[in-house]
């Protein structure tokens, strides 16, 4: 099919399960002054009103309204994917899809030559060699400024510049917060589900697969050497030596690894699955994504998956499966 043009359809006014917990701006939520007032509310004459359209959320004594839609607002510890939009004095500006751009300080990144070295003036001059406009990275929110904007850091091996994959943006509301936001998926593909809705699907790096076996081998060797009593200094501190190895210029490389056609096909299949879930307004986590992927395999060729109706039906199937499993 070369082209599909359709008349935009209004979503049918489905069973508005919008119960009493849905509020709209200016609506009185409570006149009990003991509640603490969180986001999405305002306070006037001892009464708490909603300032957005959304659902009321009560946690302990904190009352807030979660809007139906809205930009991502960062919280400390969030794992994000962001895009550099500006290189400035000792800092990068990063687009994270929020109200404000995030800041990444030169001091908050690992630089080639190991993390333990000091930042020098020459580092400042060659900031563009590390990260330049357009570059994608994954990072963690280190702290928040008073206006709600975030300061990021990439001081861990799991953070840094992104390569070997594709970028997908979905509404941040749909990403289900979890302990871990980077997952290895079936098909030798990994994903970072940024809390801000920016996602990165990429080929599972060789090292992470190899690492497991290597580290077990190492511990075995260590055990045996410890048993034989030949202790050598620095033996136990694997992490630092590894950090130094990996903090070479490679971590800022722009070059992709050789990617086979089948890996690329799997990556675009996952991309389409992610977009299917987003199109159907389904909260996104690893389990659902894998399930959508398995369902999509039943639809055949990857290049059918861009179609709206196919995406819709993948989403419906995920929900249906979940209901079945829940019942069973």
């Amino acid at each position: 099919m070369i082209i599909s043009i359709s008349v935009p359809s209004k979503p049918e006014a489905s069973d508005t399960k919008a119960g009493s917990s849905v509020v709209t701006p200016g609506e009185l939520i409570t006149d009990d002054p003991t509640w603490m007032r969180g986001h999405g509310t305002y306070f006037l004459n001892d009464k708490t009103y909603s300032s957005v359209a959304g659902t009321v959320l009560k946690v302990n004594k904190l009352l807030s309204v979660v809007p139906f839609k809205g930009r991502y607002s960062p919280e400390t510890g969030d794992h994000l994917v962001g895009r550099i939009i500006d290189v400035g004095q000792k800092r990068w500006k990063v687009d994270i899809g929020g109200e404000h751009d995030a800041v990444l300080m030169l001091g908050s990144v690992n630089l080639p030559g190991g993390i333990l070295r000091r930042k020098s003036e020459s580092d400042e001059l060659q900031m563009r060699n590390f990260l330049k406009e357009g570059d994608l990275l994954n990072a963690e929110v280190q702290s928040l400024f008073s206006d709600g904007s975030a300061s990021l850091h990439t001081r861990s091996l799991k953070y840094g510049k992104l390569r070997n994959g594709v970028f997908v943006a979905v509404p941040s509301k749909l990403i289900v917060r979890a302990k871990n936001h980077s997952h290895d998926l079936p098909g030798n593909v990994s994903i970072i589900l940024g809390v801000n809705g920016y996602c990165w699907i990429y080929k599972t790096p060789l090292s992470s697969a190899a690492d497991h076996s290597a580290s077990t081998a190492k511990t075995n060797a260590e055990l045996s050497s410890a048993a034989s009593g030949n202790y050598q200094p620095g033996q136990g501190s694997v992490s630092i030596t590894r950090l130094e190895q990996e903090s070479s210029w490679d971590i800022y490389s722009d070059k992709n690894d050789a990617l086979s056609a089948s890996i690329k096909d799997t990556i675009s299949r996952y991309k389409n699955c992610l977009l299917s879930l987003s199109q159907c307004n389904i909260g996104i986590n690893e389990i659902r994504l894998v399930r959508a992927y398995e369902i999509s395999l039943g639809y055949g060729d990857t290049n059918l998956l861009f179609r709206e109706e196919v995406r819709q039906s993948i989403g419906e199937d995920v929900i249906a499966q979940e209901k079945m499993r829940g019942a069973g």
Binding site: I2, I5, V7, E133, D135, V166, K255, A261, N303
Partner: protein, 292 residues
């Protein structure tokens, strides 16, 4: 959208190869799903709204006016307005000029003739409602809008209705202004169903490696080597055939074999596109409903 070097090379490698994989896994000759509706602006003769999944939306209106003229090229006026761009920006002016020239060159002016002296003059006003938010800082040029605009124009022209002429068509001797029936129920189509004439369409294709990509998406535009816009009218390739820079990032010269391949491709996709547009025209719309 500014892409990172790694993303660009990933996309480029995927597109340029023998078996290209597009960013949304379409085939090379497939369009993204479009949405369209016509006749939704009450005080125009014809109107249409077309948008693509990137959120780029194009609203087109056709208004007709009775004038007395001999100069046929005066009969069609096109005005493109892009949100956030000044009226006299290069983009607006060049899009208007291209569409106008293409329409005038491939128009059946018989359908505009009222009497021996009087003609309908058409004003085609095109409003591009939203452009990508980072358009100003990006390298794409938005010339790919041509394709969307021409589909919008096609729909607006084909859906246009004109009041029924009640006075005589022969006014060579008698000095008389044309008069029309008051009843809109009697209105006739600007382009009658029995007429073979179809407004022209412009397709934008991207060239990369040895491949021709139909309807390139924004992230694809960033890595394309070159772009072409090609006119299509009633089964034939027509002017303009023009190379356009879809992105200012890194343009390259292209192999002349690709030109033939592109023309071939457009010839193939033309008919299905026309059929899809016709099916939109045949969809009943509720005149009083809301369309959004």
């Amino acid at each position: 959208m500014v892409l990172s070097t790694a993303e660009k090379s990933y996309i480029y490698d995927s597109l340029a190869g023998e078996n290209s994989t597009r960013t949304d896994s379409r085939k090379n000759n497939e369009f993204r799903p479009l949405k369209a509706v016509c006749s939704f602006v009450p005080n125009c003769n014809g109107s249409s709204r077309v948008y693509n999944p990137d959120g780029i939306e194009c609203i087109t209106s056709v208004k007709a006016k009775v004038i007395r003229t001999k100069e046929l090229s005066d009969l069609i006026n096109v005005d493109v307005d892009v949100e956030g761009q000044r009226d006299n920006s290069t983009l607006c002016l060049s899009l208007s000029a291209m569409i106008q020239r293409a329409l005038v060159n491939n128009f059946d002016f018989e359908v505009l003739r009222l009497t021996d002296k009087y003609y309908f003059q058409l004003y085609v006003d095109i409003l591009v409602l939203s452009v990508p938010g980072d358009f100003k800082n990006s390298s794409y040029t938005l010339y790919s809008l041509l394709s969307l605009i021409s589909m919008g124009t096609y729909l607006a022209l084909k859906s246009a209705k004109l009041p029924l002429l009640t006075s005589t068509t022969n006014d060579r001797e008698i000095e008389e202004e044309p008069s029309f029936a008051d009843d809109w129920e009697l209105a006739t189509d600007l382009i009658p169903a029995e007429s073979k004439f179809q407004p022209m369409l412009i397709f934008v294709v991207g060239l990369v490696g040895s491949n021709v990509l139909v309807d390139p998406s924004l992230d694809e535009e960033e890595v394309l080597e070159s772009g072409l816009c090609i006119g299509y009218c009633q089964g034939n390739i027509v002017a303009p055939i023009q190379s356009v820079a879809l992105s200012t990032a890194d343009g390259k010269a292209f192999n002349r074999k690709l030109l033939t391949k592109a023309l071939e491709t457009v010839k193939q996709i033309g008919q299905p596109v026309v059929e899809a547009l016709e099916s939109i025209l045949n969809t009943e719309v509720d005149e009083y409903g809301s369309f959004f």
